[in-house]
């Protein structure tokens, strides 16, 4: 039983095709190359601005690596095909933007319930609805978390630069494989179309992981069990004679449907939650700048993190004791760390390209005596260093 993309010849192919060194790439291209280095050999998608270059890059590069590019009839079909392919042993990815992400939500829930590894890149654009199709935004923070129905956990990562997009995509695949769960990459239209220098690493520098496969027949017969106590069942792939039954309905450890026994539903859904909770070390990641002596804290994510850092550096030059916290995994939110930091500062600013989403997560973890203020901008143009600096000065 193999996961496609990990064969030695694949590594040789990658080495031959993509020489390490500095390149001038677009954010969307960086996501695609990250996926290729992570072992993605199946892409099913539907074109949508501002994500299309990811599909275009995959369509061009995947065949060289013996991988498959499928342009499906719509977004729903795209994520459905990914789930099917993932059960045959492929590392799979799709990319979309707001309206397409909305369409994918039902099957994203299906992937959570059936514990199917896949990576879904949402290149956030301005909404609601068609909004400003070509403009970036950060408005899908909660759509990633609560877009589908029912109680479900989700893991979402968010890159802050073109080079970061490469590495965060690799990380998304690794989390997805390790925890047998879908992972959302919350990218954005601004970085997607930004070109900047990125270093393409040597193949050996990229750490890649693969899903746990059943060690024996016994484990294969329990595709939704928990034989190792980490909440992550080994995944018996299709085509190996295990007669695996996979359903989005509530199922027992052996995969068979049981929608009538409360305990079965409780056990399954709680384990899916526990799997994410108890494996924080697999996905939790954040960056901190000058938080040691900070009186003011800026919390920012994705595309807004960089102008936020610029503003913090300038404010530091002016003698303002301000720090920056950047969650790289935005779901589950690193609330524990925010709680600790919240006790040390008197003001928290949350700049983001929306009318206030991340700020609600921050609010859950800080006391009322902290001044909490959003720095919000919509309209498709990112926040600037000056705009954020002005707000820092305002609370200094």
């Amino acid at each position: 039983m193999i996961i496609r993309g990990d064969e030695p010849e694949q590594l040789r192919l990658l080495k031959r095709l993509y020489k390490p060194g500095n390149y001038f790439l677009q954010g969307n291209e960086a996501v695609a190359y990250g996926a290729l280095f992570a072992g993605c050999r199946f892409y099913a998608g539907y074109p949508i601005t501002p994500s299309s270059e990811i599909a275009e890059t995959m369509a061009r590069e995947l065949p060289k690596l013996g991988g498959y590019y499928l342009q499906m009839e719509d977004e729903i079909g795209s994520i459905a095909a990914m789930v099917g392919a993932s059960w045959t042993g492929f590392k799979v990815m799709t990319a979309t933007a707001g309206p397409g992400f909305s369409l994918m939500q039902e099957n994203l829930g299906y992937a959570v319930m059936t514990e199917t590894p896949l990576v879904l890149v949402d290149v956030q654009r301005s909404g609601p609805s068609t909004g400003q199709a070509t403009k970036g935004a950060q408005g899908d923070f909660f759509q990633a978390k609560w877009g589908t129905h029912g109680d479900h956990p989700i893991v979402a990562v968010s890159p802050i630069s073109v080079e970061d997009a490469f590495w965060e995509t690799v990380r998304a695949f690794n989390i997805s494989e390790k925890l047998r769960t879908p992972v959302v990459v919350l990218f954005d239209g601004v970085l997607a179309h930004t070109r900047e220098q990125i270093r393409i690493p040597d193949v050996e520098e990229v750490e890649i992981t693969y899903r746990k496969l059943p060690k024996n027949e016994e484990e294969a017969k329990l595709p939704f069990g928990d034989p190792h106590g980490d909440g992550v069942p080994p995944m018996p792939l299709f085509g190996h004679g295990y007669f695996t039954h996979v359903t989005g309905s509530t199922h027992k450890e052996n995969g068979l449907r049981d929608v009538y026994t409360p305990e079965v539903h409780d056990r399954l859904v709680r384990r899916i939650h526990r799997k994410i909770e108890q494996n924080k070390h697999v996905y939790e990641k954040y960056e901190e700048y000058f938080t040691d002596d900070a009186e003011i804290l800026v919390v920012s994510w994705g595309v807004t993190a960089r102008p936020s850092l610029g503003a913090v550096l300038k404010a530091r030059d002016e003698g303002i004791r301000v720090g920056l916290f950047v969650p790289k995994t935005v779901h589950p939110f690193p609330g524990k760390r925010i709680k600790e930091l919240g006790k040390k500062v008197r003001a928290i600013l949350v700049p983001e390209m929306n009318l206030g989403q991340l700020i609600l997560e921050v609010q859950r973890f800080v006391n009322d005596d902290v001044l909490l203020k959003g720095v919000n901008k919509i309209g498709g143009v990112p926040l600037t260093v000056e705009e954020i600096l002005r707000e820092i000065r305002g609370v200094a």
């Binding site: 496609r4 010849e9 040789r12 192919l13 031959r16 095709l17 199946f42 099913a44 065949p63 060289k64 013996g66 991988g67 498959y68 499928l70 499906m72 009839e73 719509d74 729903i76 079909g77 795209s78 459905a80 095909a81 990914m82 789930v83 099917g84 392919a85 993932s86 059960w87 045959t88 042993g89 492929f90 799979v92 039902e106 099957n107 299906y110 299709f238 085509g239 190996h240 004679g241 295990y242 007669f243 695996t244 039954h245 996979v246 359903t247 989005g248 309905s249 052996n254 068979l256 449907r257």
Partner: protein, 284 residues
């Protein structure tokens, strides 16, 4: 009693025993479809290890999963063919079969059905057409005959039914056939052909739902529905000579289309070979 039936039913080896008995209503055509499919698999000597069966949501989706003992993927409503597309690309040497209902495959899933036929991907679809949404309580479907009564067309259906087989044939499928549950032997033969055809194949099975459809349309006994099928079935050859007016309310049975066209997964792999050749990446 139940044990006796299992021990004398030779096709039971293809069923997931722990999932039995089935949830299908007495008199449902689903059992006939399951039986016909199992017999086709048996006659072709297909190892169930070489089968992946995918289904959507609804009564007919249950025929495939959980009851058939193979790798089975029970998916979201309407999306079975799209899921199966990913499976087929991943396992091009396996037989990938979709078994689901008319509401699932031709209504909410209509777009996937048309595009899979257009791509001509080597998937076999068994579409169980019972003219109604059974599992949700007998609502009007895109296949409900004009004038028929359902829970959401209580006075009469004023919409025209979709001719699924003809539509899928026009979309580009390699093989399309239509039978009813009263034509079991012909149905088995068509399923066998469909399983062997390289390309997209669809077998539409007109099936009885005495509980939701028959009861509201003066055919509450399963046998009455089967008699209705037999009385109104017209072979393809004969139908060609009939006018649209004469064909109103009739079931055209037989092979609608049987042709060879380039198949999707083969073309996809051929393309990859060409690209690797072009860039000198072969034999890496």
């Amino acid at each position: 009693m139940a044990k006796e039936i299992y021990s004398t039913y030779p096709m039971v080896k293809y069923l997931r025993k722990e999932a039995l008995p089935t949830a299908l209503c007495p008199g449902c055509g689903g059992g006939t479809v399951l039986n016909a499919f199992a017999n086709a698999v048996d006659q072709l000597k297909i190892d169930p290890k070489d089968l992946v069966v995918v289904s959507g949501i609804g009564c007919s989706a249950w025929i495939a999963s959980p009851y058939f003992l193979a790798d089975t993927l029970h998916t979201t409503h309407g999306r079975a063919i799209a899921f199966a597309t990913g499976v087929k690309v991943g396992l091009p040497d396996k037989k990938v079969v979709v078994i689901s209902g008319d509401g699932d495959l031709a209504s909410i899933g209509g777009n996937h059905l048309l595009h899979a036929a257009r791509r001509n991907i080597d998937i076999t679809v068994l579409l169980v057409n019972n003219f109604i949404y059974g599992m949700t309580g007998g609502q009007v479907a895109p296949t409900t005959p004009f004038g028929a009564k359902t829970t959401t067309s209580p006075y009469r259906n004023i919409e025209h039914p979709l001719q699924i087989s003809e539509t899928v044939a026009a979309a580009g499928a390699s093989y399309v056939a239509r039978w009813t549950t009263a034509h079991v032997y012909q149905l088995i033969e068509s399923i066998k052909t469909a399983l062997q055809v390289k390309g997209f194949s669809l077998v539409e099975v007109i099936s009885q739902c005495p509980v939701q459809y028959g009861r509201r349309n003066k055919m509450k006994e399963p046998a009455e529905m089967l008699r209705w099928f037999l009385k109104n079935s017209v072979p393809v050859s004969k139908a060609k000579k009939m006018s649209p007016e004469e064909l109103e309310g009739k079931f055209i049975i037989g092979e609608i289309i049987n042709r060879q066209r380039p198949e999707f997964t083969e073309e996809l792999n051929k393309l990859i070979d060409e690209v690797q050749e072009h860039f000198g990446l072969k034999g890496e």
